[in-house]
């Protein structure tokens, strides 16, 4: 009986090709847009999440906005932060703009970053050649520097710059390493940056304050407790002015990203599902027309022994087959669209089983919901009236 009904449904859909296709179009567009949106958003989420967590879930980031009286953290505050248990290292960053020069060529507006050895210990692939800044450099305020690949190209004509001299802000430094060339947008800035020991930046360049800290924790599970302790030290240092700084650990950044993207995909999915409803109404309309057209067929089937429930099932199956076909076509289109978009914007393409189930489930549900009323109408036709209707 089920097999017959499905066959009948397919025959009926095929014998009205154009009408069936136009009816399905609403479902196709609806499912395609929902699937494309979900796939693109989850791909983007996966990419961003990956990048963020590659920055380390064991990292607590402190940004100092400062107050008019106290623009940043002092060395003293840094020492009290270091006393907090579960902290394996603190990597301060002092950022500024500077001019670099060598071989008679100079480059302006170059990002200068003061770092320490902790940064290099906790971050992989920072340099492509040479060595990193070590504790002795920090201790001695050594005039050593790591330079970005663009600077190597411009000031050293791409030749090995290690051991060469470079002037940063007019003072001579020895180049000890070259920063890894990066094509990733998020870190492309380091191609034209220089890094020097942060103590050198404070002592020689004259930066007084530390505005950015990466604090590394030993036990990630304890990260939130440690974060609270860090906040305590900062609050004290800024006399209770909590607007002067912000503390973030990677986990909370990840949580924020995930909740933002899930709200985003829910919103977009909600908008797209309006077209599914419109598609459903299209199916309902076609099914109602079909019931009217086939009144005498319904009467005949009843005369031959069809129960009302069997008639209802037949029409319901027809609308489900119709919307499922639309759903499958829409799914394929949506996935193809998402795939292209993921390639273009360079995010990972993730197709989950959930997405497949969602597409199939949604379209089947539309078929059942919007096919119900027409099917019920068909099942309730009086066979005498229905047979007379020719």
């Amino acid at each position: 009986m089920l097999k017959e009904s499905i066959k009948m449904a397919l025959e009926n859909i095929i014998s009205n090709k154009m009408r069936s296709f136009l009816t399905m179009l609403g479902i196709i567009i609806g499912v395609a847009s929902i699937i494309a949106l979900i796939t693109i958003v989850s791909g983007a989420t996966a990419t961003v999440t990956n990048q963020v967590s590659s920055m380390g879930a064991n990292k607590v980031t402190v940004q100092i906005q400062g107050t008019p009286l106290k623009k940043g953290l002092t060395q003293g505050a840094l020492e009290s932060l270091a006393k907090i248990p579960n902290i394996s290292g603190i990597s301060p960053t002092i950022s500024g703009k500077t001019t670099v020069a060598s071989n008679g060529i100079s480059m302006e507006d170059i990002a200068l970053q003061g770092k320490n050895d902790v940064y290099f210990k906790n971050t992989t692939d920072v340099i492509s050649s040479g060595r990193t800044i070590n504790p002795i450099d920090i201790e001695n305020q050594s005039r050593v520097s790591l330079i970005g690949s663009d600077i190597v190209k411009k000031l050293f004509y791409g030749k090995n710059p290690i051991g060469q001299e470079i002037k940063i802000g007019g003072i001579s430094y020895t180049v000890i390493g070259v920063l890894q060339e990066s094509s990733r947008f998020s870190s492309a800035g380091q191609n034209s940056a220089v890094m020097i020991p942060y103590t050198t930046a404070m002592g020689i360049v004259g930066a007084k304050y530390i505005n950015n800290l990466d604090i590394f924790v030993q036990d990630e599970a304890m990260a939130s407790t440690t974060t609270q302790q860090i906040e305590g030290v900062l609050k004290q240092d800024f006399n209770g002015n909590t607007d002067a700084y912000s503390v973030m650990n990677m986990q909370s950044i990840l949580d924020t990203i995930q909740s933002m993207t899930s709200i985003l995909s829910m919103m977009l999915g909600g908008i797209a599902s309006i077209s599914l409803v419109v598609g459903g109404i299209g199916i309902m309309n076609m099914m109602l027309v079909s019931v009217t057209e086939r009144t005498s067929e319904i009467g005949l089937r009843k005369a031959l022994g069809a129960e009302p429930i069997q008639i209802q099932m037949q029409f319901l199956i027809e609308s489900v087959v119709l919307s499922l076909m639309g759903g499958i076509i829409g799914f394929i289109l949506g996935v193809a669209l998402a795939w292209v978009v993921c390639i273009i914007i360079g995010t990972t393409f993730v197709l989950t089983a959930g997405t497949v189930i969602l597409a199939i489930g949604f379209s089947a549900a539309i078929g059942i919901i919007f096919g119900f009323a027409p099917a019920r109408k068909a099942s309730r036709l009086n066979p005498i009236d229905a047979l007379r209707s020719i």
Binding site: L304, G305, A306
Partner: protein
């Protein structure tokens, strides 16, 4: 004494039209035995179709009783009446009522689907019955590839395939020319000789003469006897 398969006693059918009650069948008494070929003859508006709907369990009487194969047919749930129709009645309509998208064979299989007969058996039974009505060559044709007479043969095959208690025909030659009509009546005669019970409704006294019994219906009243026009 042959077996009584249909019995109507003081059967009344009324239609309510607004405030008015229209009596269409006025106390019909009718008995049909297995193997009878009964023609029900009457002019337009006399209540033939109304009577046929009741015999065919598409409708139920307002008053009086109707027994078919010993079972009282009354206001049962629609599904129950569907089962009775499927088992007891083989309908043959004036307009054939074949489904245009299906082949002759698939049309014949239709009532077997609702009887829950498996596919293989359906194919065998529909093929042999189509052969019986002389359409072995046309099984895969659709109705629009068949002549009117052939279409009515398909409809007859469809009525026969479930081996129903009664073949119930409403003006079976009404849509056919005279020659084709004669051929269909010849087929009815053969089926009658094989022992099939046939109830045929017609307004044409020549057609009615094919029956072994003629029952006249005038203005909702039944009377039986040889009809001499």
């Amino acid at each position: 004494m042959s077996e009584k398969i249909l019995e109507m006693k003081e059967l009344v059918k009324t239609y309510i039209m607004g405030d008015e009650e229209q009596v269409v069948l006025r106390g019909v008494n009718l008995e049909i035995n297995r193997g009878d070929f009964v023609s029900i003859l009457g002019p337009s508006g006399s209540g033939k179709t109304t009577l046929m709907n009741i015999i065919g369990c598409l409708d139920v009487p307002t008053r009086g009783t109707y027994h078919l194969s010993g079972e009282l047919i009354r206001d049962l749930p629609e599904a129950a009446l569907s089962h009775i129709r499927n088992r007891e009645i083989g309908f043959i309509f004036q307009q054939f009522q074949l489904l245009p998208r299906l082949t002759a064979q698939k049309n014949v299989e239709l009532p077997l689907i609702y009887a829950g007969v498996p596919e293989k058996e359906r194919q065998e039974r529909s093929a042999s019955i189509l052969e019986r009505v002389g359409l072995a060559e046309k099984m895969k044709n659709r109705p629009n590839q068949l002549s009117g007479g052939q279409q009515q043969r398909v409809a007859i095959a469809r009525a026969l395939v479930t081996e129903p208690t009664i073949l119930l025909a409403d003006e079976p030659t009404g849509a056919l020319d005279q020659t084709t009509g004669h051929q269909i009546m010849a087929l009815f005669q053969e089926l009658s000789k094989e022992g099939k019970t046939i109830v045929m409704i017609t307004h044409d006294s020549d057609v009615a003469k094919n029956g072994s019994r003629i029952v006249r219906i005038i203005d909702g009243n039944l009377s039986e006897g040889v009809y001499n026009a």
